[in-house]
């Protein structure tokens, strides 16, 4: 049994008794002095009112711009990563931070000489740094700047998560993705509906799908797309036809075509999930869809630009050790895409980290009163290693 003075001494030592004698609740652990001060007032998120990326410059670096719901519905039904989309729904708005890689990309695209073969810009970086969202930003910019979009939201879906693969009836030794091609054509149509109408592009070849289904030359391209959407059997060939047509139109100067592919290194991976009749796993180079896109990576057309991301997660599990382009693209990818402009995407710097935490505070996502304090911000930065994706994870239970 301790004397009352001894017990009080113990309590004082444990920091459970304040000077005025009140005993704090049990379970209150020792905290540093700074954290015990009153929390700072809630900051406003640093936003910009410019909703079109065409207007974004280095002045908007670190600021958050809002995508209008109509834009999200039209352009990004498939583009935005699922977890980020869930967060946007929680926050009741779709916002993106203006960051350096996207600004660099947009600047390069503006300054590209379109009379030359298309420039290839590839984003690369570690997981969670913001490659996909930078691509989203750039895609929005391209759409607003009047480019026709050939947008592949996440290329590895065709290699490892395809709905169905069937041998091609038209081209010997190749394989089709009936359902995936339909989905992609719908996505293409939604993205480029207005532009296709205004540009009034027409087919230049005759496509015989079957004895009764024929697409004549000088038919609007929209019709070609509709054929693919309505008949899954011909959808893959339709995609191939569409890409060839668009390439030709671009070369002839009727439109400017932007190819945006997230996870471009998946085209050069030798592993797919499809088992052929002779029990071997199919090499993805025999996918017609891959062929359709690979022809766009060649330097034999004009008025175009190729924007992509080289992602470790787009490769198979055994080939993800490094995030650098040469390793992920392998020899054949490097030779196919070289020369390209590599654009590094890095973790948040101090300005961006501050902006991100301010945004979470503005959205009332961070409920802990110390989250906005100096020590709290430093803790968040340390735990997430300045990585945007990890910051999202760390902030979830707060």
């Amino acid at each position: 049994m301790m004397a009352p003075s001894a017990r009080r001494a113990v309590l004082l030592l444990r920091g459970l008794v304040r000077r005025d004698g009140c005993v704090a609740a049990l379970g209150q652990r020792c905290v540093s002095i700074e954290a015990a001060q009153a929390p700072p007032p809630r900051p406003e998120a640093p936003r910009t009112a410019l909703t079109s990326p065409v207007q974004h410059t280095a002045e908007q670096h670190g600021l958050w711009y809002t995508l209008r719901p109509s834009v999200v519905q039209q352009l990004f039904q498939y583009g935005i990563p699922k977890q980020y989309m869930t967060q946007c729904r929680t926050f009741a708005e779709t916002c993106l931070m203006v960051r350096q890689p996207a600004l660099t990309l947009m600047d390069y695209i503006r300054r590209s000489d379109l009379s030359l073969p298309p420039n290839k810009f590839l984003l690369y970086g570690r997981n969670g740094c913001g490659k996909t969202l930078s691509l989203i930003h750039t895609t929005h910019f391209l759409a607003d700047a009047g480019w026709l979009l050939i947008h592949l939201p996440w290329a590895p879906r065709w290699r490892r998560n395809f709905k169905e693969v069937t041998p091609s009836s038209t081209i010997e030794g190749q394989y089709n993705h009936p359902l995936d091609a339909v989905m992609w054509l719908q996505h293409f149509k939604t993205q480029n509906a207005d532009l296709l109408k205004s540009l009034q592009l027409v087919t230049q070849e005759r496509y015989t799908w079957s004895r009764r289904e024929i697409t004549e030359p000088d038919a609007p391209l929209g019709e070609l797309v509709d054929v693919g959407i309505s008949r899954a059997r011909y959808s893959t060939d339709c995609v191939l036809a569409l890409t060839s047509e668009l390439k030709r139109h671009a070369t002839e100067g009727r439109c400017k075509v932007a190819v945006v592919v997230d996870g471009i290194n998946t085209f050069y991976s030798p592993v797919s999930r499809y088992r052929c009749e002779d029990k071997t796993m199919l090499d993805p180079k025999f996918f017609t869809l891959f062929q359709a896109f690979k022809q766009l990576f060649r330097s034999d057309w004009k008025n175009g630009v190729v924007v992509g991301s080289v992602d470790a997660l787009a490769n198979e599990g055994q080939r993800r050790e490094s995030h650098l382009p040469r390793y992920l693209l392998r020899k054949q990818g490097w030779e196919a895409l070289d020369p390209f402009v590599p654009i590094p995407v890095e973790d948040y710097n101090d300005l961006e980290m501050r902006s991100a935490i301010d945004y979470y505070l503005d959205r009332h996502w961070l409920q802990n009163p110390q989250a906005g304090s100096d020590i709290g911000r430093r803790e968040l930065a340390a735990l997430s290693a300045h990585n945007p994706y990890l910051l999202m994870h760390v902030c979830r239970p707060l």
Binding site: C30, A382, L383
Partner: protein, 398 residues
């Protein structure tokens, strides 16, 4: 004596079991107490006086047996001590040391070297201790040849204990008298004359039992400590310090013993300190560099070396606690399997290194927070006849 006892009883307000001795008997008994109090409360004192039968020439059988037992025990102890000494000299010879200066520590080291043991329980390992530490101390003869006990309180069953209580009562009364005298003379001291209990704590029930050589009950111990605490609360209790310190043991804090190493400096003048820590089978060496920007490096990777947020929090906690997060750089090297244990080892190593960067107040807070203590928990051994350390095999009723 009875009046002193009575006063004590009145003050304490509880019933103390008194010995039923007469006044005259008590007076003579006092002499015996003074002579034999030291002998009864100290260890293995040998009865040097030979057993002589009383004047009448008769001694009861039980008395004789008792005295024979006491003699036999003493003889036994003498033999054991002689054997121990011989053994000690032999051991010194074996180890090539000087037998004259071979201390108990040397004996322990020699036994550990000659008979290494992997047993977990220290008391199960081989050891060579002095017989006084091995064999239970017994009280010397408590009554003379005529059967008359030496100690006044012999018939209480706990003579040494009640003697201590009586002395406590006497001390209390003398302090009261002193206080009254001081009040009469209107002498007030500026500094407190009360006993300072800092750095010491009451001996445990087992220790007191060992001191008195009497098996105390809980009620005895509780009463004793309560009474002693009341003595401590007296404003002039420092005058009774010698008496109080007989029943208190000094509790040294490890902090005051260990010296905190001073900061080292690199060639560029950057302060740094190294700390090492262990947890289960993980060993970590951490160097903390001052004037840093919050970089954390673990085995040449950043904090993403740990995937679990819990492990990252463990690494970051010492820095956050001392408010040095973002102000120092951390370079850690950790070996040994297990991520959680690696994180714990890094945490301990970081805390030990940070000691040199912070002031004493913060060091004490760190100690209280448990940052500076090694976590000694290890995997518990599996026992035979059980499925695991604690889990038993399935119990079948029949």
């Amino acid at each position: 004596m009875a009046s002193v006892l009575g006063q004590f009883l009145r003050r304490s307000g509880t019933l103390v079991r008194t010995s039923c001795t007469t006044q005259a008997r008590v007076a003579s008994g006092l002499l015996h107490i003074q002579q034999h109090s030291s002998s009864s409360s100290s260890s293995s004192s040998m009865v040097e006086e030979s057993t002589t039968p009383p004047e009448s020439g008769r001694m009861s059988k039980s008395m004789l047996a008792y005295q024979q037992r006491a003699e036999a025990h003493d003889k036994f102890m003498v033999e054991q001590v002689a054997e121990y000494e011989i053994g000690r000299r032999h051991l010194a010879n074996m180890m090539g040391e000087d037998p004259e200066t071979f201390t108990q520590e040397d004996i322990n080291a020699a036994i550990q070297y000659l008979l290494p043991s992997g047993l977990f329980e220290p008391s199960a390992r081989p050891s060579m201790k002095h017989p006084s530490e091995v064999f239970i101390k017994k009280k010397a003869a408590e009554f003379d040849a005529s059967g008359r006990p030496f100690h006044t309180f012999f018939y209480t069953g706990y003579p040494a204990f009640y003697e201590a209580l009586h002395e406590l009562g006497k001390t209390m009364i003398s302090l009261e008298q002193f206080a009254n005298k001081m009040a009469r003379l209107k002498v007030e001291s500026e500094t407190s004359q009360a006993f300072n209990p800092g750095g010491t704590e009451w001996r445990s029930k087992g220790e007191l039992s060992k001191m008195f050589l009497e098996e105390l009950h809980n009620k005895h111990y509780v009463f004793f400590i309560q009474s002693m605490n009341r003595l401590l609360e007296h404003p002039y209790s420092s005058r009774a310090e010698d008496f109080i310190m007989r029943f208190r043991k000094v509790v040294l804090s490890r902090q005051s013993k260990e010296e905190i190493p001073k900061l080292l400096y690199t060639a560029e003048g950057v302060p740094y300190m190294t700390g090492s820590g262990k947890r289960k089978h993980a060993e970590a060496t951490v160097t903390v560099y001052g004037r840093g920007s919050g970089k954390i490096e673990i085995n040449e990777q950043d904090i993403r070396f740990f995937e679990l947020i819990q492990d990252r929090e463990q690494v970051v906690f010492p820095l956050q606690f001392t408010n040095l997060l973002g102000k120092v750089d951390l370079v850690a090297n950790v070996t040994g399997a297990g991520l959680s244990s690696s994180a714990g080892a890094i945490r301990l190593a970081t805390s030990l290194a940070l000691q040199s960067f912070v002031d004493e107040h913060m060091r004490e807070k760190m100690r209280l927070a448990g940052l500076l203590s090694k976590d000694f928990r290890i995997k518990e051994r599996k026992k035979p006849g059980q499925k695991g350390a604690r889990a038993k095999f399935t119990w079948k009723k029949r």
